[in-house]
């Protein structure tokens, strides 16, 4: 019986110090495998394609249903989630690399801290803490809620930053993900109470909204189909108005 094999070429790295190398693996095929299950097979039996014992490949995963973003990696050249990368649909050999936009921790594990720092920078939340009960807050029209739900699908996976030609080591650009979250929270009836503050954050300092070069790769790459370029264009409109209010003064500037 000739056994069908899966051929993997994985870009590995011992630690954050650099020095990446490629290691090949051949695994027995099973039906309905995804990249994660192939990596689990390597962990079970860490032997490379030359039959030599090696260390198990490190990777991250959590939800296994494409909502957490943790297992993002570059698979056959394109960044995506490895949990929904089905082996049957991938060209062999399957090439796995860490996303190059983020510092590598080990093998396929990257440190996405910059994305979470960006969310803090733009205050991507609805502030409700106070010294007294603020009450239920204004209602949101159902149609708007459904629209906002699409923006809320962002899982901070980093694929849009990886695809963006302006997010790189030469630029400070914050990237599409956090920008779209500004639009989400500015659209929320309670979140809108801090609209000007979020817009000003996008205009202050280096690497803000204006660093977008409109290559529009992000909207093509986003696994959740979030209208990132529409968010960016809408924020361009908002910040243009905000900059006029800031410059000329306004009694409606909040």
């Amino acid at each position: 019986m000739s056994e069908k094999m899966i051929h993997l070429i994985i870009t590995r790295q011992k630690d954050g110090e650099g020095g990446s190398y490629k290691e090949e693996f051949k695994l027995p095929y099973r039906e309905n495998m995804n990249v994660i299950s192939a990596l689990m097979e390597i962990r079970r039996n860490p032997v490379n394609a030359n039959g030599e014992d090696t260390t198990a490949v490190s990777w991250e995963a959590s939800c296994l249903e494409e909502v957490c973003g943790a297992c993002s990696m570059v698979i056959n050249g394109k960044p995506r989630q490895s949990c929904t990368a089905l082996v049957d649909q991938l060209e062999q050999p399957i090439r796995l690399e860490p996303m190059k936009t983020f510092p590598v921790v080990r093998d396929l594990v990257v440190d996405r801290s910059r994305m979470f720092d960006s969310l803090k920078r733009v205050k991507a939340w609805v502030p409700i803490d106070g010294t007294y009960d603020l009450g239920p807050g204004p209602r949101m029209p159902e149609a708007k809620r459904q629209w906002a739900y699409e923006l809320s699908k962002c899982m901070t996976c980093g694929v849009c930053l990886e695809a963006c030609p302006n997010v790189n080591d030469k630029s400070e650009f914050i990237g599409p993900a956090a920008l779209s979250q500004v639009r989400l929270f500015n659209a929320h009836p309670t979140g809108a109470m801090h609209k000007a503050e979020r817009l000003n954050t996008l205009m202050d300092g280096d690497g803000g909204l204006s660093n977008c070069g409109n290559s529009q790769n992000c909207v093509q790459a986003c696994p959740k189909g979030i209208p990132l370029t529409t968010s960016i264009a809408a924020l361009n409109r908002d910040t243009t108005l905000q900059s006029f209010k800031n410059f000329f003064g306004s009694d409606n500037n909040f």
Binding site: P165, N166, T230
Partner: protein, 203 residues
């Protein structure tokens, strides 16, 4: 404006590319087209442009300073990108790349063009039909002009597309799609005008 210097510079860069540099380009291409009507009409048009009141003030504030800022800050923007059209060969990603490439080509072309015509004129050479005919009599110069004109019209037309996004005029995907068609049309029309004008000097 203390903190948002980059935002201001980017917006200024976008604005200057259209007003006044883009408008100047339209006037320039329009006046060039007199060459198609023959030597006499072309020389009349050139004499009219040279005789405009406040000529030096207009040249400095409407042309030289805005172009210099747009070019220098544009180079900084262009070399900040790490192009990835190999992995993401989408139409807009190619346009993003071409916008930066044609910007650099346009800068080189304009520098050479200003040296050959405006600075030559300042040093005493007369600007007229014969001057241009002499320049493009050299086939290498003619090809350089055709490449330069095409790069310039592309950079302007595609720049209009991103201008509309940068200022929040086109927000929805559909509006951006329509402005893609319109700006491509502008590119084709302006390229025709530019190349027909330059070819009139060799025919």
């Amino acid at each position: 404006m203390s903190q948002n210097r980059e935002f201001f510079l980017r917006k200024l860069h976008s604005l200057l590319g259209v007003i006044p540099v883009g408008l100047f380009l339209l006037v320039h291409l329009g006046v060039n087209y007199f060459s198609v009507r023959g030597e006499e009409e072309y020389n009349q048009a050139v004499a009219f442009m040279e005789g405009l009141p406040f000529r030096y003030a207009m040249e400095i504030f409407i042309i030289f300073i805005p172009i210099l800022f747009h070019a220098i800050y544009g180079l900084y923007i262009a070399f900040q990108a790490r192009h990835n059209t190999g992995t993401y060969s989408y139409f807009r990603n190619w346009m993003f790349r071409l916008q930066r490439t044609t910007g650099v080509i346009t800068l080189i072309f304009v520098a050479w063009h200003v040296w050959d015509t405006r600075i030559a004129a300042a040093l005493g050479q007369e600007v007229n039909f014969d001057m241009m005919a002499d320049i493009v009599a050299n086939p290498v110069a003619l090809v350089a002009y055709i490449i330069g004109i095409t790069a310039t019209t592309f950079h302007f037309a595609n720049g209009l597309w991103s201008f509309a996004i940068t200022w929040g005029i086109t927000v929805s995907p559909r509006s951006q799609q329509i402005s893609t068609y319109i700006t491509l049309g502008i590119f084709v029309l302006l390229t025709f005008v530019g190349i027909r004008s330059i070819l009139a000097f060799v025919m």
